[in-house]
């Protein structure tokens, strides 16, 4: 017997330490699956300590009737068994509680009273002998223990059976009407939510926040902060404000720890208030488009938001068998037995992959064959998937002849047929499917009249006809597109334009004037130009508004110079790559004047000497410069061109004063054509004066202008 006591005392120690340990690390504990059956034995085992406790009390009461030695032994035995069974029950209870789903408040109470029982009885096994001497203390301990037992038992019972389980029979029965079209929306859909989620704190007994929700009148009266809702005004309805607050906030309802409203319930309350919060309006009186009605039906129909499937999961090897790079079959989510299959790359479509899907015919709920060369006879294969819910046949080759075979798919609710040869009659055969709620028939022969007729005939099904061209809507055309990528044209290259639409006329100018639809020069072939040219173009087409304009500058280069030197240094901030910039036929970017392709001058003339190895016959010299008025980069004030056969015998050939802009203009890379007397030249000298003062209209008028050059071109 001693051995028994010894083992028991060790077990008690083990279990109680384990219990305390688990409580300390409660938040971090993860219960493995194999433990859960132990947890679930809690409701059975908890009756043991209760029974033993009763025996213990009886023993105390009838102490005098029992022989002293037997009494001591019995007391010890029963006490230790009570303690042990309490402790095991508490541990099991702990495991069970981790499964969740219990009222957090009650659970806390039950947990701590239960643990209290376990520790209390354990303590008794240590001190019962001392207590046995002091009758008062013993009685006190027994009474205390008994109260603990009763409390723990009561809270536990309340968790499993609900509060007020015992006296429920005395409560006045409220008749809660089931969901029916004839009952009021409030009774059918709103009241059940309030009862389930709000009532426990806002009732005749417990009136938190002075709000009592036990009757319609009391609800309408509101609480401490006034009425619960303003009909039609979701933003100012207190109920919704509280519901939408973040969970962490104290005012959030239902409070943290209580069962929360589901997303759908929130949506329903919102929609109901938005649609007038009418307490009497019956469900059927709501218009068909009513959101509240749809949600009420949805909630009544399916209590759980996550869809569950009754069929078994397909094995991994089966999944591997049906998957190819062009037919992807995967579960809808981790752990879900339902599968979706999608086909990709029409050139690689293999009918065998579709046949192969019969291996997972139970599990297949979504199938997409969009753009695959699926024929009418393949519908028979699809009809073999009994649980199919969603089918995408967009842009397939089906004509609809065999769609009636899909009647075998009793759960099919969504079918997409956009871009197929389906017709009204054939669609009709599909629309009788019992579960069907939506079909998509954009870009088919069905016009809006046909869709309207079918919608009337099958109000259950949403028939989506999609976008239709509005003949009255006139759109703006997109501008012409420049084909060239280089803006320096070599000898025989031409300027090429195009447009992405057919039958478009491209109007253009080369003289800097803005073209419009009356401009007579119409682009018909690539344009060959002789010199620096600014091309502006726009497009027109019947039934469209004229396009915006494009504006490009082209530089022509017939002769490449061999050397260039700078006789005056550029501003140290904009030295670029030096003189060779001028003849490398590389354009600088318009939006970045700090790019190394640009040379910048201010308060100082640009002077450069450019040489050819052999004399060349020149008629025009083009200077390519940057105009960026906001950054003070302006056209030059004056350009002088000198020429000759050596540096020593240069003659002044031409001097031009370029036009200055008269108002703000966009940034641009522009050119100045300087015509010179035709002749043969080996050396050309350029002197360019930057604009000494910004014009009067400029916001920084009077400051010196900049001159930026990237290229000199010879023709």
């Amino acid at each position: 017997m001693n051995r028994f006591f010894k083992v028991c005392s060790y077990l008690l120690l083990v279990f109680n330490i384990l219990l305390v340990f688990l409580l300390i690390f409660e938040a971090k504990v993860r219960i493995p699956v194999w433990v859960s059956p132990f947890g679930r034995l809690h409701p059975m085992l908890l009756h043991l300590p209760i029974g033993f406790a009763v025996v213990l009390v009886l023993l105390l009461l009838f102490k005098k009737e029992v022989e002293t030695k037997s009494y001591a032994f019995l007391l010890k035995l029963i006490l230790i068994i009570t303690a042990l069974s309490s402790c095991i029950a508490a541990l099991m209870g702990f495991f069970l509680s981790r499964e969740g789903g219990y009222d957090a408040n009650l659970l806390q109470w039950h947990k701590w009273t239960g643990v209290g029982v376990s520790l209390f009885t354990y303590a008794l096994t240590w001190f019962h002998e001392e207590l046995a001497q002091k009758t008062k203390m013993l009685q006190l301990a027994s009474v205390g223990g008994l109260i603990l037992f009763i409390l723990a038992g009561h809270f536990g019972a309340a968790i499993t059976h609900g509060e007020n389980y015992v006296f429920e029979a005395f409560e006045k029965k409220k008749d809660i009407q089931g969901f029916s079209q004839d009952s009021s929306m409030y009774q059918a859909a709103i009241q059940p939510i309030l009862e389930k989620k709000c009532f426990s704190c806002h009732n005749d007994q417990k009136v938190k926040g002075e709000l009592n929700m036990s009757s319609i009148q009391k609800i309408l009266k509101g609480g401490k902060h006034g009425a619960l809702w303003k009909a039609g005004d979701t933003l100012n309805s207190l109920l919704l404000q509280r519901v939408y607050l973040p969970l962490e906030q104290k005012e959030h309802m239902p409070p943290k720890g209580k069962e929360q409203l589901t997303v759908e319930e929130v949506a329903l309350l919102t929609a109901w208030i938005k649609e007038g919060a009418d307490m009497k309006k019956t469900v059927k009186d709501y218009v068909p488009l009513s959101k509240a009605k749809a949600l009420a039906f949805k909630i009544a129909g399916s209590k759980s938001t996550e869809k569950t499937y009754s069929f078994a999961e397909a094995s991994e090897s089966t999944l591997a068998e049906v998957n190819t790079p062009f037919c992807v079959v995967a579960p809808l989510a981790n752990g879900s037995p339902a599968l979706e299959a999608e086909f990709f790359v029409s050139r690689k479509f293999d009918r065998k992959s579709l046949e192969n899907l019969s291996k997972v015919k139970e599990q297949l709920v979504e199938l997409s064959l969009a753009k695959m060369p699926v024929k009418d006879e393949d519908i028979a294969l699809i009809a073999k998937f009994p649980n199919l819910e969603k089918l995408n046949l967009n842009q397939t080759d089906i004509t609809g002849n065999t769609l009636d075979q899909l009647a075998q798919c009793k759960l099919l609710n969504s079918v997409a047929l956009s871009g197929t040869k389906i017709s009204k009659d054939k669609l009709q055969k599909l629309l009788i499917l019992p579960a069907l709620t939506e079909v998509f028939v954009w870009n088919t022969s069905l016009d809006s009249v046909a869709i309207q007729a079918l919608s009337k005939q099958f109000p259950r099904v949403t028939i989506n006809g999609g976008y239709r061209e509005d003949p009255n809507e006139i759109l703006k055309l997109n501008p012409p597109i420049l084909v060239n990528e280089e803006f320096i044209l070599k000898k025989n290259t031409a300027i090429e334009l195009k447009h992405t639409l057919k039958n478009v006329q491209i109007h253009y100018t080369l003289d800097g004037q803005n073209p419009d639809s009356t401009t007579q020069t119409i682009y018909d072939k690539p344009l060959v130009v002789d010199n620096y040219t600014r091309i502006k173009a726009m497009a027109t087409k019947d039934g469209w508004r004229a396009s915006g304009r494009i504006d490009y500058t082209f530089f022509k280069s017939s002769f490449s110079a061999d050397t260039a030197i700078l006789l005056s240094e550029p501003n140290p901030r904009y030295t670029g790559k030096g003189a060779k910039n001028l003849i490398d036929l590389k354009k600088g970017p318009i939006d970045n004047h700090q790019d190394a392709a640009w040379l910048g001058y201010q308060n100082k003339d640009f002077v450069s000497l450019i040489e050819f190895k052999k004399p060349v016959p020149l008629t025009t010299i083009t200077i390519s410069y940057l105009q960026k008025i906001g950054s003070h980069i302006m056209p030059p004030a004056e350009v002088e061109v000198w020429g000759g056969n050596s540096e020593a015998d240069l003659k002044k050939l031409q001097k031009v004063m370029p036009e200055q802009p008269e108002k703000m203009q966009d940034n641009a890379n522009l050119g100045i054509n300087v015509s010179i007397k035709q002749g043969s030249y080996k050396v050309i000298k350029l002197i360019v004066k930057p604009l000494p003062k910004l014009p009067k209209w400029h916001s920084d008028k009077g400051k010196p202008g900049w001159f930026f050059i990237d290229e000199v071109l010879f023709n």
């Binding site: 996550e306 995967a330 981790n334 997109n478």
Partner: protein, 484 residues
């Protein structure tokens, strides 16, 4: 021995002490079996769920993110604030500004004159949402949109703000949203990358985009965003070289893979494996991509629907159309960037050009997905990296003004896959400056997008440099108010 155990419980012998301690410790050890990683920090809740599948049934399978790069002004798009027109020219009250920091561009301004929208607003649809006159097509589909007026971020300059909304952190090197989705959900179509990036540039003042916005960060490089070219060929170098046929290409890849596996065995670098997968993907893309550019199965009126620019490669409209085709072909995450929304000045002239670029095609995308039955499984997001100030930057005139960066409140919209259609979520004050109801922080936005895709943002993690990272890192709350 009898009763010894109970009688001498307070003066325990060493033997008893040791044996009891052993038992006590043993029971703690037993308990610790139920507390995984007790001594390795609090990571136990992050038990890795299998990759490549949603954690729970997703509301959306794919995302198309129409990113408006440069930050379009909320006050000229969806957040109508007539008070600003009434108070035009008056200084922003300090009580409203509340010490908000300024950018370097307006820090030297002594006055902050309020300015209302140059463009009129009207209410549209059953939701009665306000939309500016610049967006007539978006206005038509407003009942499909979930407009969130209370986005807010922590960054006040483009680079950190862009990096934040794209990768969940203001500093670089974190994986972007698309990379996380690719990592968590895998690709639907094995013949295309799971994460594609399309770039376009508008006519307004622009801000750069750069590869750190679509980086895989520390994730495997197969999750990196693949940037499509803006030319006629969206993916370069896919055609077989002259003289190389499919068979010899196949043989070459097989041999190369053998060599790479040998290399992997010696150096163990996982990037070698990634490279092999990328070669295989490229090989399959050779058959999948030509279908994407093929418009022959589209009806002619697609041009009117998306606007004529949709045929010009590299434009926003063309990218939106391509995005629809990519998404339809099972690309998880298509990320567009449209540059040119940074209106520090000249707003009344520049913004209509930007709006013209994006309005029609963005609305068309929603309609197009809907008529194909794909809208309920595709999440479309439209918006920028932060908002713009309610006061004028630079010289104040009634018909020409600019707006500086404003991180405290701005507007984006989402549509399709699992978001509530036809709602306006959240409220800003009358000045359009502060949020007064239902803020949505960038982290919350990420958490919600992940939720819609069937991912728990707290459970999709990657261990790097000794700790686990998430897209939302240590923050982020779901926004149930926008989830349908």
């Amino acid at each position: 021995m009898e009763n010894e155990f109970f009688k001498n419980r307070l003066n325990i012998t060493r033997r008893h002490f040791l044996s009891k301690s052993a038992v006590g410790l043993g029971s703690m050890a037993l308990g610790s079996l139920l507390v995984p990683n007790l001594f390795t920090g609090g990571e136990e809740s992050l038990a890795q769920l299998p990759l490549g599948l949603p954690h729970f049934a997703p509301k959306a399978k794919r995302v198309i993110y129409l990113f408006q790069n440069g930050a379009p002004s909320q006050l000229e798009t969806f957040d109508y604030k007539p008070l600003l027109n009434k108070m035009a020219g008056e200084d922003l009250p300090e009580s409203i500004r509340g010490g908000q920091r300024l950018t370097g561009m307006t820090a030297s301004q002594t006055k902050f004159p309020l300015i209302g929208s140059y463009f009129d607003f009207k209410q549209y649809g059953q939701s009665g949402a306000w939309v500016s006159d610049m967006f007539p097509n978006m206005a038509k589909i407003v009942d499909e949109l979930c407009i969130i007026k209370t986005m807010n971020t922590e960054a006040i300059n483009h680079d950190p703000a862009l990096t934040f909304i794209q990768t969940g952190a203001q500093v670089g090197n974190r994986p972007s949203m698309g990379a996380w989705m690719s990592y968590g959900l895998g690709s639907e179509n094995k013949n295309l990358p799971a994460f594609c990036v399309l770039l376009s540039r508008g006519r307004g003042n622009g801000q750069g985009v750069y590869s750190k916005l679509w980086t895989n960060g520390f994730l495997d490089s197969t999750h990196q965003g693949v940037v499509f070219s803006s030319g006629e060929d969206p993916i370069l170098y896919l055609k077989d070289t002259d003289g190389i046929d499919k068979d010899s290409r196949r043989r070459m890849l097989d041999k190369l893979a053998e060599l790479n596996h040998l290399g992997f065995e010696t150096n163990g670098d996982p990037e070698v494996q990634a490279k092999v997968q990328q070669y295989e993907m490229a090989y399959r893309m050779q058959t999948a991509v030509p279908e994407l550019t093929d418009l022959s199965k589209e009806p002619d009126h697609i041009v009117k629907m998306y606007g004529p620019e949709c045929l010009v490669p590299g434009t926003y409209a063309a990218n939106v159309l391509l995005a629809r085709k990519l998404s339809e072909s099972g690309v998880r995450f298509v990320q567009l960037y449209h540059q040119g929304w940074d209106q520090h000045g000249n707003l009344p002239n520049e913004m209509p050009l930007q709006a013209e670029d994006v309005d029609r095609s963005s609305a068309a995308l929603i309609m197009d997905l809907k008529q194909r039955g794909l809208l309920d499984e595709t999440l479309v997001i439209w918006g920028g990296e932060f908002g713009r100030t309610n006061y004028c930057q630079g010289t104040f005139t009634k018909d020409n003004y600019g707006r500086d960066h404003h991180p405290r409140a701005y507007t984006i919209w989402m549509a399709g896959g699992g978001v509530k259609p036809g709602i306006v979520y959240g409220e800003t004050d009358e000045f359009g400056y502060n949020i007064i109801k239902d803020p949505v922080h960038i982290n919350d936005f990420h958490a919600t997008v992940m939720h819609l895709m069937g991912l728990n943002h707290e459970q999709l993690t990657y261990k790097h440099l000794g700790r686990r990272y998430r897209l939302t890192d240590v923050a982020g709350k779901l926004v149930p108010g926008i989830i349908a």
